[in-house]
Symmetry: C2
Subunit: 160 residues, 2 copies
């Protein structure tokens, strides 16, 4: 049997300052959702390889908030946001901010779509208020973190 890594698509919207990430997983929505909302699972796959996630706050409910530190390769940075809405196994709507750029706040939406046969399509959008900010975010190397993070998530889902 050949194991084929699922492809991560990162699409910049032509009309609005939004990035759309599409990725399929070989696990049902319940498991992919849980890996996003359980802090002990989330910190295992968040971010690029070689970086560690330390969670300060992860009150993953509608109206809650989160704050975490990412560190690796001599760098560290704090990220934070609010959980606007958590719909179990379906949707997460949250804000996202890298604290060194406090005014650069993104509105994020993560959808978990049941493809049947134990598969899930995840669509994550990140909306900001200018094309310059969006393009800087894409150029910052976020693709490496997203692709490597989801590959580690594949491993967690397979082992679970």
């Amino acid at each position: 049997m050949t194991t084929k890594t699922n492809e991560t698509q990162i699409i910049v919207d032509p009309d609005v300052p939004l990035v759309r990430i599409i990725r399929e997983f070989d696990a049902p929505p319940e498991k992919v959702f849980r890996a996003h909302t359980d802090p002990d699972l989330f910190k295992q796959w968040n971010g690029p390889d070689g970086y560690e996630t330390e969670i300060e706050t992860f009150d993953c409910r509608t109206g809650g908030s989160w704050r975490l530190k990412s560190s690796g390769e001599g760098w560290e940075g704090w990220f934070r946001g609010s959980f606007h809405e958590i719909r179990p196994n379906s949707v997460i709507i949250q804000t996202f901010n890298y604290e060194d750029i406090p005014d650069g706040v993104a509105l994020e939406r993560i959808e978990f779509e049941d493809l049947g046969v134990g598969r899930t399509r995840l669509t994550a959008t990140s909306l900001v208020d200018s094309f310059e900010s969006r393009d800087a975010f894409v150029a910052s190397g976020m693709e490496v973190g997203v692709v490597e993070g989801y590959q580690r998530l594949d491993g967690i889902l397979a082992a679970d």
Copy 2:
């Protein structure tokens, strides 16, 4: 002495799906900010004339959340969101949702700029993920609510 009502400018951004509201107040930033963050003051001026605001939750701090009901003229609706960041007398960043349209979430930013001589310029932006949603919001009659609400806020600030 002639009392001139401060003008409310409502500007649709040509490039991104955002509405920008600009309004000056005859009060310093501390007072205008307090009228946005103290629920007993906020409910007195929020919304159009003839509508009542009932606050269920108003945990106005970074990482808190809010939920309120607006009712009047035989109509009622629930609104909710998260307070992503509260910077005293300076900035409020929050999410905003009308619960009948749960996927229509806006990212809002309210800036309080000190103009000196006891005056404040407020700039409030509301960002959504499509021009259709933005234009529907503007066409919904929000202008009446904004203009009338700020006129009642003028009265609260003058009496305070």
